[in-house]
């Protein structure tokens, strides 16, 4: 058996604040094979985004402290890398898509320039950058890419902006794509399009994907495995189908209960009794 693409062991992340130290991630471990798709599901503040950003140390240090653990990516510990080595991984090996495409793109540069910047950084062998930009914009379904690439972000709709983000992430052919709540800021029909887009890309390339979301509803067709995070810990981990069908942890059960279903009459959505769950974890 070959070494896993990503292996996280006992990762702890702390934030130093004026009111003392906050433990955001409390000793999580998981590993991913190349080509695998993992969904990290949890509510706001559960530590899922922090985990995603930690993979290339994108969190500002200070206030963030990686107090213990290892993030082994491609055989090397990310937490021990120099700034230069980190930059060589960012975008090149591990690429990101963020939640809010309208603010995540730089408003004063054309989308061509923003994608070209990534290509120039990591693929110096590419001569015809424009052709490469068009290729990736085509790939994510931007119509008339050769013309649209000279647009500024504000000239595109939210869904198009997110496609540009995906094109930018793909443009350096990363081994791992971290999609941090990629559909949260979009309306429902666009959400479905973006998830379909990710599914299609997953089928076409052999890229691994980490899909970070609070929405159990979107993961079923795309994620091979799911990790449920609650208060900085992974409380449940397993094959997606198994977890969805037969959740073990009370928190997972409550989250799945919350998925609204068309045609099903319900009086109230289940609330999550945090105090009871805290006790359960002791």
């Amino acid at each position: 058996m070959t070494a896993p693409l990503l292996d996280i062991r006992n990762l702890c992340i702390q934030f130093t604040t004026e009111n003392g130290v906050v433990n955001a991630v409390k000793g999580i471990s998981f590993s991913m094979e190349a080509g695998e798709t993992l969904a990290i599901v949890g509510e706001s503040g559960s530590g899922k985004s922090v985990t995603g950003l930690a993979l290339t140390r994108l969190l500002p240090e200070p206030p963030v402290i990686y107090s213990s653990g290892e993030i082994i990516f491609g055989g090397r510990d990310v937490l021990k890398m120099s700034p230069g080595e980190l930059r060589a991984i960012r975008g090149n090996k591990i690429a990101y898509i963020f939640q809010e495409p309208s603010t995540s793109l730089n408003p004063v540069f054309t989308i061509r320039n923003q994608i070209a910047e990534a290509i120039r950084l990591h693929r110096p062998e590419v001569k015809d950058i424009d052709r490469e930009v068009v290729k990736y914009l085509d790939l994510v379904g931007i119509v008339d890419a050769a013309k649209r690439m000279h647009d500024y972000p504000h000239q595109l709709s939210g869904g198009m902006q997110q496609r540009v983000m995906i094109a930018m992430a793909l443009s350096c052919e990363p081994d791992l794509l971290v999609a941090d709540e990629p559909t949260t800021a979009l309306d429902v029909t666009i959400q479905a399009q973006i998830i379909d887009q990710l599914k299609e890309l997953k089928a076409r390339t052999k890229m691994s994907i980490i899909l970070i979301t609070h929405n159990f509803g979107i993961i079923s067709g795309i994620a091979d495995k799911v990790a449920v995070m609650f208060r900085g810990k992974i409380v449940e981990y397993g094959e997606t189908a198994t977890v969805l069908k037969n959740p073990q942890h009370a928190y997972t059960k409550a989250l799945i209960e919350c998925i609204p279903q068309l045609g099903v009459r319900r009086k109230r959505l289940a609330t999550i009794d945090h105090a009871a769950l805290e006790l359960l974890d002791r």
Partner: protein, 324 residues
Amino acid sequence: MFSYLIRRILYAVPILLGVMVLTFFLFFVVQKPETMARNVLGKRATPQTIAEYLHKRGYDKPRFINREPGQPFYDSIFFTQLQKLATFDLGVSDVTGRDLKTVFKEGAIPSLLLTLPAFFVGFIMAVGLALYLVFVRETRLDAAGALVSIALMSVPPMIYIIFGQAVIALTFNYFPAFGFELSGLTTLKFLLLPVSLIVVMGLGSDVRLYRAIFLEEIGQDYVRTAQAKGVSSTRLLLVHVLKNGMIALITLVVAHLPLLVMGSLLIENFFGIPGLGNLLVSAIQTSDFATVRASVYLGSILYLIGLAATDVCYALVDPRIRLS
């Protein structure tokens, strides 16, 4: 863009009209022409010399509307002044009798020689230092930068001028302490000290302000996206943050650019530079109200030009803004 500028010029007309009316009230209603004449001619002036002085300048006409039978109603101080300013006829000085257009043309050159270099050096230094402080943010160096900036801001301008003249110019004799000459390298010798003083006086507050603007940009989502692409911190600051921060900086800076012609009141007066700032101060001291009025009027025109230029620059830097 063109139609926008035309509209902008049309908007300026009522504003300038307001400036004219306001200056008229200040100079001819609040302060009566007789009082002014007495100030200029001295205490021993006879009623006759005063009447002559006023008549020569047309200040003895009715103030607003001429009700004298047989004379046109607009033959009054108000309408004559209005007509003169509207046709850019600045008239002559109330004290020296010199043509004000020539006086202003002569004064603009020393003023610009002083304020233009001071502005550009100051702006580039402040932006550079602010970016550097953002680069080393939340370190001891950043704290030291804040301390020095606040110290620079806290010293009153007079102290800088006195220090410059007494210590650098007189004690060490590096520069002349006073005077001006418009001839090549000699000019440079006279300007170096006052220009440096203007730069130092403004540096502290500018660095603080620009640093705050850049710090706000560095917290934006697009910065994280660029980092996630693997962009280096230098490029992040000099390309991504600087271009976005410039949008905010332009509002602060461009509006004041045309006003540089008006010079610096304090520095010109202290260093004896015959610019427009000096002109205004001595005009106030000698009750030369024709000159003061012309200064106020020119200043407001220049400010309006600055505001229009700000909007144009906005559209050039920020693709989200279109002038229409």
